[in-house]
Amino acid sequence: MSRLEDFRPKLRSGRVIPQGSRITFETDSPYNQIVLPMALADLILLCSGQFTVREIIEKIYKKQGAVPFRSLLIGIHLLHQGGFFENGDQLTLSSHLQSWMEPRKNRGHFAWTFKQRLDSRKRHPMAYYAMTLGLMVIGLLGLQMLPVSPIEDAAKWLEMNGPGEAALQLAILSSIFQTFRHLISATQLYLLTGKVFNLSLCLSPWGFHFRVGDEAADLSDNRLYTAMYHVSQILIGWTVAMLCWAFLPESWLYGAVLLGIVTSLWELNPFISSEGRKLARALILPNDRDVVSWHFETSSLINYVSQDLRRREHEFARICAIWGAIWLTINLAVLHQTAITFGPAALARLIGSPATAWFEWIGLGAWLGGLYFVVQAFIETILLSLVHPYWKEIQSYIRGFRSNSKETWTSEVVIKSVEHLPLFSHLHDKHLRDLIKTSEVIEFRSGDPMILENQPARELFVLLEGQVEISRSVNPGRMEWVTELGPVSVFGEAALVADTPRAAEVKAKSRCTVLRVPIHALKQAAQESQSVRHIEDFRNAILVNQFFASSPVFRSLSNVSIEFLSHRGTLEYYDQSRPVFTQGDAGDSLYLILRGSVNVSVHGKFVKKLSQGSFFGEIALIANIPRTATIETLEPSVFFKVSAEAFWEVLVQHMDLGVFIETVSETRLREDLQLASPADPRKTGSDS
């Protein structure tokens, strides 16, 4: 299974048909069709299995000078979800991104698919609406059949029919129920979307029945209709029971009621892909075309791209946890009542004649299995909803409680953590070891100050563990937040250059472990180590490293990419009130703000201020257009300038960064549009 960038997409054999602003890809066997924007033609034509997604992006960039990351990602997702990739199973995706046309892995049932797809060009939404409304009403009426004490009624029914006959009745009824249910579902989907997928005959724990997939429900563009579909499917057991009422013999009626209860409970199970869960997803989670976060679940960048989606996913998870707890409690009550009703007689038979009490053994096995599932799910729900979100804090507390930092952070461990930092990578091994020996590992609790403003600076610090916050005073009594740093990064490096007091305050944001390095020892090590020529090189390297360690965007890049960018960029120093570039200039580089701040203006109007840790100049690169704003420094500033070539080399390796930059660019352009409308067209200018 490969990551998206390393995936070599191979389309099934088919035809690509250009149609104006759109391009259609069509397969014959089985027949399927997808329509995409014409601008994604390269993506389709390059999906031959020869190129990885990364290579495809590179080719598009070289040709067009820009890459539409989000559209590409959505295109790949739709192609994969539609089953157009021959090798789609090689792509690592979230579990719920399953293809309609790939054979589903049958869990506990055998199916023979006799028709993959029924396709009508027409939809009948009004007929669907009327049918589904009718089904829901019948289902609600069917709920009247719900007995007051179902377990006791079940005991009487078993006594009346005998266990063997009862089991046979249930098996037959269940097969009929499921067949009816899927026939109804197929009709609903056909009316609503004009399509039905994966029609099969199935042997499952529900019996032997006709089955149809519900993938077509995703095609509906109306949330109300989708919600109605899922509600009708939750009530379907009662609907079918009501419909069968007139035809069933009296001795079979309770079996129908029992199936109605079981089916409804099953479809309200939040732990499986039940109708209830699908209903909650359809109502709570946004448009399922927003697939960015699904492809990059582990990328911290996506928190910035899809904050709303993340928030809703957390809400959805909380709702499922509460709902799960209620559902499990109901099941526990059912198990309890079952034990009270059937337990004494069953146990008596098991003890008295164990060899012949086969029905009781099966019943006991099923009861114990149910109890195990419920208890296990209960513990899992509590752990996932209450423990997991705070697991990092708990771990950090336990680790802090149990271990002593000085025992954990031995010289060898410290050297391994810091040797890649530019500050130390210049030093020979021996000098680095000697330096570490003269340094001290110190622990800070959350909120402890590490550096105070105006203090003399005689050491620098390396953050090994935890988070720190840097702020400085702008007015007496008022502190301005500057940035945050995470491990492993350097701070307090101003002491390296001159013996000036501290210009900012550093405080521990969480429990931290830092390495305190005396400046005189560092300078001595640098002098003795002939690979270091100037302290200025150190300072520059620290500035760059600090940016990458603190920036929430670039922090998640691989070390290889960070090192690549670090070596391909140049430091630029600007005085206060100096223009960096003007709106309309050609754009050839990205600027990372290492120190200072800048003013962003569009058409002469102030838009925003950007400070240390941020970046600018990305829009011109990602969209291949001129500079969209004028940038001027507000104070003496230091920027790290990255060429377009280096920028794109990193983007093609990190698709999630590309998506992030694109999203940030879009947000910034929308803000610019809101705040600064375009100026009048320029009067005659020389461009001939």
Partner: protein, 235 residues
């Protein structure tokens, strides 16, 4: 609206950044230039005259133009100011212009006092040509990839495209800024519902094709055919 869930991806902007940037007025460099195809007879674009001599226009922008002065009527001096006439279909403008550079017979002219209304008019007229500048050839289908039902496809990230067809009746399909134009064999190009393309649409097509960078032989042949149609129309 809450109840709407899915959108049709085929109708979404692939590159919303370009759309936003163009609303902001910074989509391209200021005063981009559109090439004017040689020998084509235009009714919507202006004709350049110096005195009573018509001078062929090679390219045109809001800021100026490039003239082909093979008869050396404009003079050789760079920086020289001249009085140029721009003849439109309905009127003629006398404007002050300056020769800013000279390469062989080409004279690069800067408009010094072109009225704002005409600037806007030129900007709209050359827009299809500017769209053509961003078009690139789509990748060729590979032997083990899907089969392309066309001879050539050219696309841009802004959604413009050109398809050179493999059809009995249709030579090419062009999509420019949301409008489709179909070039038929032995017939005038048509738009939606098979209506003949208007002069403006036809000339938009000419400009679009003429400005595609590194055109293939197929595009050159297509352009030549359409230029011939334009001159036949003017006769």
């Amino acid at each position: 609206m809450f109840w709407r869930r899915n959108k049709n991806l085929a109708d979404e902007d692939v590159s919303p950044l370009h759309v936003l940037a163009s609303r902001l007025g910074v989509e391209r460099r200021f005063n981009p230039r559109a090439k004017v195809p040689e020998n084509a007879a235009f009714v919507t674009l202006p004709t350049a005259l110096f005195g009573d001599q018509i001078i062929r226009m090679r390219d045109l922008s809001v800021g100026g133009c490039c003239l082909w002065d093979n008869k050396e009527v404009l003079g050789p001096q760079i920086g020289q100011e001249i009085r140029l006439s721009l003849r439109w279909s309905d009127s003629e403008d006398q404007i002050q212009a300056r020769i800013v550079s000279r390469v062989d017979h080409r004279r690069h002219i800067q408009f010094m006092d072109l009225p704002a209304g005409r600037q806007e008019q030129i900007k709209n007229l050359i827009a299809p040509g500017i769209a053509g500048l961003d078009v690139r050839p789509a990748s060729l289908p590979l032997s083990d990839g899907p089969v392309l039902e066309a001879r050539e496809v050219w696309t841009s990230l802004k959604g413009d495209s050109l398809t050179i067809e493999d059809d009995v009746h249709r030579v090419a399909s062009v999509h420019i800024r949301g409008h489709d134009i179909f070039v038929m064999k032995e017939a005038w190009p048509v738009v939606k519902d098979k209506c003949p393309a208007s002069p403006r649409e036809f000339e938009a097509l000419l400009l679009f094709l003429a400005n595609i960078p590194n055109p293939s032989q197929g595009i050159k042949t297509l352009l030549a055919k359409l230029v011939k149609l334009s001159t036949a129309r003017s006769v």
